[in-house]
Symmetry: C2
Subunit: 339 residues, 2 copies
DNA sequence: CTGAAAGCGCTTACAG
DNA sequence: CTGAAAGCGCTTACAG
């Protein structure tokens, strides 16, 4: 392949001339439109290849069609949720050669507004808003000239479409796995009580237990989403003297703290007590001792679905409401010892 | 503020008409060019505000000037290095209202080439390549029509400009901190031997020790950048019977494994042995027991510097070679107990 | 200091 | 099936 960029980049007209056709015909040929003689199309394609022609997406975007760009507006780049979602978005968009503007509002509303303006100014084909919590949030704007999809978080405007995680189902399947593997005295340690993630997960846990005629050995313990809280809560639980054979944690970070705390107290996992997390934060889960069983929230898939829905919306779909994606169990050693 | 987008978005010509001037004058006024009557400028600015005018960046980009976009090409979105660098880039670019295309090549060369084409096609003002290792890598292309800066990794073409981490300095200051706080029998456990990060960090450690008339209690131990290796290496070290009062680890992950291993063996940190990491991966370092002293590699700053250099390059700077950024010590409890 | 005109590099009706 | 012309929404010499 010849170097496309020594000197000035070749333009459509250069390709057209080389193929002996007009610019309009070259354009149609290159864009796989109908009504072009196959032989002509071939000549144009060859010419483009020979010249190393790369179309100017800016000029193309001006014509009014798609710009082939999408904005991802996040408030949680530092957290661990945005990244897998972003990768899923890229997976889905890459197929159509769409590129992603990544904008981090850093939790600043004014900054978010400015970034929305910047995105609109660049005529993105759509915006995906990635929140740091599953709780509802105000929409980024009304009557925006581009479709908007909320991912992970959800918009509190029922006219918007949001794709989120099914927290209740995550809690449900986590509890199911514990009960199915023979546990019946389950304690539940979770994160910040006001978060819908805490509440919904607990609901799911309790629903499964009720289905099986069981209940938690004591009320759920809420704190924050940290290892420190996991350690503290486990210590409190052990000292309470309550009997338990499993701890279902609201997150992997909490679970890791719980594991360390149990280890320190000489309580064997999983033989004495099974421990389960939620998130499948791999670097944490795999390096726990023992490795942590957990629920994968399928965030990358969430990103792919969000991108797909955005594409559908830009094609006129008027879907609204919240679409919940189920998580799936990942079994490691903290619930079932490896053979 | 009126809703800018009910109906069709206002254009420059709408602003011009409302202000009673021509489009060219409106353009000059809005872009803070010279030679516009202050009163006229004011009228145009008011009109724009009243209409909620957001300029069409696509049209502006076509004119030939800047597009106000930059590409960040990474191969390591999953890793923990890309993210802080990305945030730094955004910090620096946001000031000039430049937006970032985030492209993850996923370590695939063909994909990387395609993404470079996509970026060029969108006429980005520059590209920042963020590598997953500090080792040299081949350039993403030759004679690209836009400036390119390498961040974290470096290009093996001496004509390119790369901004990287000063690994030798990081090792040096880590060792300095240990020696300054009274340690003299230092062991060194690091990551993959072939990585320049391992090699340079070790060199820095040895240089500081030599300056102080000391040497490592045994040859450096290399493995991989994981907690598992940290645990294994610490076990080997303890069982060797070698005396030591500090372990300098090549990364925070390794250090965390080391800490867990020492804890398990009843060796007190920091009273018996001080432990030090490198990276300042906060979620890991703060949740270690005790909290981990380490070296912050200043990745966010690295991102800011890369963006600044890109801006300079697009203004004609011909800077080349590698610019190394120093790390800085973060003292927590694993080397000095808190009072 | 202001405005008419040309142009950025494409795509899209429209006519042939 | 092909091409001349207009247009996308701006900016930039250039003339006044």
């Amino acid at each position: 392949m010849a170097d496309a960029f020594s000197g000035t980049a070749p333009q459509l007209i250069d390709v057209a001339r080389r193929a002996g056709v007009s610019a309009s015909t070259a354009s149609k040929a290159l864009n796989a439109k109908a009504d072009v003689n196959p032989a002509t199309r071939q000549r144009v394609e060859s010419a483009a290849r020979e010249l190393g022609y790369v179309p100017n997406a800016i000029a193309r975007g001006l014509t009014g069609g798609r710009t082939g760009t999408v904005g991802v507006l996040t408030s949680d780049l530092e957290g661990r949720f945005a990244l897998p979602i972003l990768m899923g978005v890229e997976d889905a968009l890459g197929i159509d050669r769409v590129l992603t503007f990544l904008c981090d509002a850093r939790g600043d509303e004014a900054r978010e507004k400015r970034l929305v303006d910047e995105l609109v100014s660049r005529r993105v084909d759509g915006i995906i808003v990635v929140g740091k919590q599953t709780d509802p949030r105000p929409p980024i704007g009304r009557n925006l000239p581009v479709p908007v999809i909320y991912a992970y978080c959800m918009s509190d405007d029922p006219a918007d479409l949001s794709i989120s995680v099914d927290n209740a189902q995550a809690g449900f399947v986590a509890a199911q796995h514990l009960v199915d593997s023979g546990r019946s005295k389950i304690a539940h340690i979770s994160g910040e009580a006001p978060h819908s993630a805490s509440q919904r997960r607990t609901e799911g846990v309790q629903k499964l237990l009720a289905n099986r005629g069981l209940e938690l050995v004591q009320p759920p313990m809420y704190g924050d989403w940290s290892e420190g809280w996991g350690r503290a809560a486990a210590a409190i639980l052990v000292q309470s003297g309550k009997e338990f054979d499993a701890i279902l944690c609201g997150s992997d970070q909490i679970a890791r703290g719980v594991l360390d705390s149990l280890l320190e107290r000489g309580i064997a996992v999983p033989s004495d007590v099974a421990v389960m997390g939620i998130d499948n934060w791999v670097v944490l889960a795999e390096n726990s001792r023992p490795a942590l069983s957990t629920v994968d929230l399928q965030l990358q898939k969430l990103g792919r679905v969000a991108a797909t829905r955005l594409f559908e919306a830009s094609n006129g779909s008027k879907a609204a409401g919240v679409e919940y994606l189920p998580g799936s169990i990942v079994i490691r050693d903290s619930t079932i010892p490896r053979l």
